[in-house]
């Protein structure tokens, strides 16, 4: 398989994730869509790493996975805190940082 297929697939997955962030209102699903976008970036990194025969891209992908884990942990902690305070779990209504 030519590597351009992988890169185009990565662009498609990124676009799907970005569209999901724009459409959905639930913060949990928006975090899931952020995961989709990070994974699309990972696929492009691994494809370019294969293209160049260099493993640096794979290490970069590993670091991206670490960042994704941190983002999920903090984001889900925020969602649990929002739910505990009985605030609406809807990003349209949570746009003000007034507490």
């Amino acid at each position: 398989m030519n590597l351009e297929w992988y890169v185009v697939l990565s662009a498609l997955l990124f676009a799907v994730g970005a569209g999901g962030v724009l459409i959905r209102r639930s913060p949990v699903v928006i975090l899931l869509c952020l995961e989709l976008m990070l994974n699309a970036g990972n696929l492009a990194l691994v494809a370019f790493s294969r293209m160049l025969g260099d493993q640096d891209g794979q290490v970069f992908a590993l670091i991206v996975m670490v960042i994704a884990a941190c983002e999920v942990v903090v984001g889900l902690g925020l969602i649990v805190a929002i739910y505990r305070r009985r605030l609406p779990l809807n990003v349209d209504e949570l746009r003000g940082l007034r507490g």
């Binding site: 990124f14 799907v16 970005a18 670490v66 884990a69 942990v73």
Partner: protein
């Protein structure tokens, strides 16, 4: 053979991604994400990134998805109102996503990278194996490795602080939600 494996992985990854954004129940979205992640791990295997594929399954499909399942079950289904703050948002968003895809594709395919049309350069034996990745990680990228470990520690502490039940140090009752919070705590 490789093409069949690629298209199976691509269809799984794309179907999972579309399932994440199309399913109404967040719980089902998380399950669609599992399909997406495992298909992507298959694609990583085709690209000779064995360690990344294993880490993808263990870290994502193992740990992160479990977190998501817990929170989705704790929060429950969130009804998404039909009210749109921007008129025509439901129509505009897929359009913008499609435009983003076209733009990225033009940028990639127009970059005139010669090796995009090949199957990649010759790679040495053990490319992407845990031993090789570990050597690169601990020799050339030691600072990134240590920074990542520090970041994970900070994220864990931050999540505990955010999600902990603060009995005494709750903020003063200045907002409307405080009375409801008081009845809950």
């Amino acid at each position: 053979m490789e093409a069949v494996a690629f298209f199976a992985g691509a269809i799984g990854a794309l179907g999972g991604a579309i399932g994440v954004i199309a399913l109404r129940n967040p719980f089902y979205s998380v399950l669609a994400l599992v399909v997406h992640l495992i298909s992507l791990a298959g694609l990583f295997l085709i690209l000779h990134a064995e360690f990344i594929a294993a880490a993808q399954v263990v870290v994502y499909a193992g740990a992160i998805v479990v977190l998501y399942v817990f929170v989705a079950a704790y929060v429950g289904g969130v009804e998404e109102p039909v009210w749109e703050p921007i008129p025509g948002q439901q129509l505009l968003a897929p359009l913008l996503g499609g435009a983003l895809f076209v733009e990225l594709s033009i940028a990639v395919l127009g970059s005139s990278l010669k090796s995009l049309e090949s199957e990649g350069t010759q790679i040495k034996l053990g490319f992407g194996s845990p031993a090789e990745i570990g050597r690169v990680l601990l020799e050339r990228f030691l600072i990134a490795f240590e920074a990542a470990s520090l970041l994970l520690l900070l994220a864990a502490v931050g999540a505990i602080v955010l999600a902990s039940r603060r009995e005494s140090s709750s903020p003063p009752a200045a907002d409307a939600g405080a009375s409801e919070q008081g009845s809950r705590v």
